[in-house]
């Protein structure tokens, strides 16, 4: 077998209609970091045996998969990763050559959206991971490309086939980002944009790994990954130029954000976009950073609180893919 270079590792991803039933890949994220792999967790038999060596037998305790994938955010891969992280995707009909995919939180713990991840390694070995759920998704942007990092947990791989294809997309970066703040999402939408330096968002599903292993098999049951309580946290930073932003932290002011990435036109006015509607951001840490050689920067760390009108987080992706393949 030939040695395999990292760039020869092709990753495909498809959304499963039945959890644990593998499907073909419909998107091929151009990853920057990848570590999803089989976990064969061992238990050592350390009982008395009449010899000094501690272990005298072993078994496979659990077989599953775990790891992460990072890629640059675009309107092709974002619906997949945010769909898996939040759980519910509603795709609209075509308008001005564009489709809007609205991604919201699915609140039923035992109905996590699952994916099949296919991994082709230099044309030599193809591993297929079904029943893959998103434990957490991190989104970060500062002065470069916007990066998504997905922490995944899934079934133990078997083999499969994949024919990768790579699409040229608008790979989003900080200069395509616009942030608006307000006391609600609709209020933020009507306000002017505020220049920010960075934005980070983490969606943590706190998957209950132990609940996926039941009697009869040492592999997770199909659809057996149960979401724990969801925690959405993050931060944004901006230059200090008055008390308004600082006072939000001091007074626990209702603080919502509409953050939009805009790329090339699809129709006459519609464009490739990712829109984050972050509801009530509770500012949790003292924000002021005073630099002797620089300027005062406010880094607002937040945790999202559920809001009766705006819920917690909605991600809208506008692209030219219909709901069948996002």
């Amino acid at each position: 077998m030939a040695r395999v270079g990292g760039t020869e590792v092709n990753v495909g991803l498809g959304i499963e209609s039945t959890a644990g039933t593998a499907v073909a890949a419909t998107v091929f994220p151009q990853w920057t970091e990848f570590s999803l792999q089989a976990i064969s967790e061992k238990a050592l038999f350390n009982s008395q045996r009449g010899v000094r060596n501690m272990a005298s037998n072993s078994m496979i305790r659990r077989r599953y998969s775990e790891g992460s994938m990072s890629c640059i955010a675009n309107t092709e891969n974002a619906p997949y990763l945010f769909g898996l992280a939040l759980g519910s995707v509603s795709s609209g009909s075509i308008t001005d050559s564009a489709y809007t995919h609205t991604i919201t939180v699915q609140n039923a713990h035992a109905s996590m959206k699952t994916a099949t991840v296919l991994l082709e390694q230099g044309g030599e070995v193809t591993e297929r991971f079904a029943n893959v759920v998103m434990n957490s998704l991190n989104f970060e942007v500062s002065d470069n490309y916007a990066t998504m990092t997905a922490e995944m947990i899934g079934g133990f791989p078997d083999t499969g086939t994949v024919t990768e294809s790579f699409t040229t997309n608008d790979e989003f970066a900080y200069h395509q980002m616009s942030a608006k703040f307000g006391t609600s999402i609709s209020n933020a939408n009507g306000n002017s944009a505020t220049p920010i330096k960075s934005f980070a968002l983490n969606i943590n599903n706190n998957v209950l790994l132990d609940e996926a292993f039941l009697s009869g098999a040492n592999t997770p049951t199909a659809g057996g990954f149960i979401a724990g309580r969801m925690q959405i946290t993050g931060s944004y930073s901006l230059q200090f130029d008055g008390l308004a932003e600082l006072n939000k932290y001091k007074a626990n002011t209702l603080n919502s954000m509409e953050l939009t990435f805009t790329g090339s036109l699809i129709g006459s006015t519609s464009a490739h976009q990712i829109i984050f509607e972050v509801a009530d951001m509770v500012l949790t840490a003292p924000p002021k950073e005073i630099s002797l050689d620089g300027i005062i920067i406010l880094t607002q760390e937040f945790e999202v609180s559920f809001d009766a009108t705006d819920s917690e987080l909605t991600v809208k992706v506008i692209n030219d893919d219909n709901g069948d393949d996002y």
């Binding site: 092709n10 419909t26 044309g123 024919t163 990768e164 294809s165 790579f166 699409t167 040229t168 997309n169 030219d320 893919d321 219909n322 069948d324 393949d325």
Partner: protein
């Protein structure tokens, strides 16, 4: 058979790619043709004459 694409797409396994809006002949080989035609953004170019 010619195909047309809504996006720039590259199939490294078949050393074949297509640009957005271009009309390109499919490569030889059933495996390659089936895989390319299965892509949601690639469609056969109709050769049917319009009335």
């Amino acid at each position: 058979m010619k195909v047309k694409s809504k996006k720039d797409i590259h199939f490294p396994q078949f050393n074949w790619g297509i640009s957005k809006g271009a009309e390109v002949e499919l490569p030889e080989g059933k495996q390659a043709q089936d895989a390319i035609l299965a892509h949601p953004h690639i469609k056969k170019v109709s050769t049917k004459k319009e009335d």
